[in-house]
């Protein structure tokens, strides 16, 4: 059990470092509370956004936290790649520049797997290959529009 955990942890940690550097051009890594006996403690996400000292998740800003959490989710997905991914408004805390960076990463990954991303942000809509519009007129059912295949 410990060996299986260590193998997964080391791989996810490596993924996290690479992905966090790409999304926020800073340095980040995972940190176990108890290196010797991981099951005895928890897991911290430690990151320093570009040019800032190392900090724990709790003292970061809203946007920095969400970039760190997103990097963690993506590093889990990279360990167990799947054929499709669906994201629901994961970009809501990010400023325009960070949304653009995230959308570039999704565009690149979309060459290997299918990505369905719900978003209200313009840089994400612009980076995608196509947009499906969803609307619901008063009292009516949901209509799905604009599916040009």
């Amino acid at each position: 059990r410990l060996r299986a955990f260590k193998e997964a942890y080391d791989a996810v940690n490596q993924n996290f470092q690479a992905i966090f550097a790409e999304l926020s051009d800073g340095d980040g890594h995972l940190q176990l509370e108890d290196e010797n006996d991981p099951f005895n403690g928890g897991l911290n996400l430690v990151a320093h956004p570009k040019g800032k000292p190392v900090q724990r998740l709790s003292s970061m800003s809203g946007g920095e936290k969400s970039l760190t959490a997103l990097s963690f989710i993506f590093s889990l997905q990279k360990y167990r790649p799947s054929s499709f991914y669906a994201f629901d408004e994961v970009d809501m805390f990010l400023d325009g520049a960070n949304v653009a960076r995230l959308s570039k990463m999704v565009k690149q990954q979309a060459q290997e797997a299918q990505f369905i991303v719900v978003s209200l942000r313009r840089p994400m809509i612009e980076a995608s290959e196509r947009t499906i519009g969803v609307t619901q007129a008063r009292g009516a059912h949901t209509q799905v529009l604009g599916i040009k295949l």
Binding site: F39, G42, A69, S82, S83, F84, D88, I116, V118, A127
Partner: protein, 218 residues
């Protein structure tokens, strides 16, 4: 491998029968607040059995049926189908039994009038069984190999409900479905569907819960 279409019948804010075709690559779904975007992702989770009712923002499964469609004393149901295109699946020949059905529409669309309770809707012969010795069964359609998962939730007059999974129109158990989904690398605890609020949930989680995510993956 990608999802080729999602069909929703009376699922949450969707009415009669809505078919949403999907392409490989990067698709954005956008629209006003409350228009039904998250409901599409809930439909995927429902059909593939990847989450309980709470994960689909419903107190109980029957809440997933469009509320204009439910009424006392009548049977009401919701059906969601997800069709995968398996044509580019790595190791296709080992994982998949290819079946040519003529004409392709022999896989009956599970619309509400024709579904017979619990018995396989397609009696035309064994070749459209759900699973063949553990292999996926793909149906040919215009040169691509398709695999269709359907889930139906039915509420009877007394308010009791039952839900059934189908692969290519044949009844299967949830466990059989999950064994097949693993061949496509789709796992219930995998993070391939990130719901609205999951990012905040990960941020507010304590360190032990975060570590447990990796335990599950290992």
């Amino acid at each position: 491998v990608h999802i080729k279409s999602v069909e929703l019948n009376h699922f949450k804010s969707f009415g009669g029968s809505t078919k949403i075709p999907l392409l490989p690559g990067f698709t954005v779904v956008s629209g006003p607040n409350g228009s039904g975007k998250s409901n599409i992702l809930d439909a995927l989770l429902f059909c593939l059995g990847l989450s309980g009712s709470k994960g689909m923002r419903a107190e109980r499964l029957p809440d997933l049926i469009n509320n204009k469609h439910t009424s006392n004393g009548r049977v009401s149901e919701t059906i969601v189908s997800v069709t995968f295109d398996l044509t580019d699946l790595a190791d296709l020949d080992n994982l998949v039994t290819k079946v040519n059905l003529n004409p392709p529409e022999a896989v009956k669309d599970l619309n509400e009038n024709e579904l017979v309770e619990e018995s396989p809707p397609n009696q035309e012969g064994e070749e459209t069984a759900a699973i063949n010795n553990g292999q996926l069964i793909a149906i040919s359609n215009n040169g691509s190999w398709e695999w269709k998962v359907t889930r139906r939730l039915r509420v009877n007059k007394k308010g009791n409900y039952a839900s059934t999974f189908y692969i290519n129109g044949q009844v299967v158990t949830a466990t059989e479905l999950h064994e097949q989904l693993e061949k496509l690398r789709i796992y219930p605890e995998g993070y391939n569907v990130v719901l609205q609020g999951d990012v905040t949930r990960i941020i507010n989680m304590n360190t032990r819960e975060r570590r447990e995510i990796i335990d599950e993956l290992a």
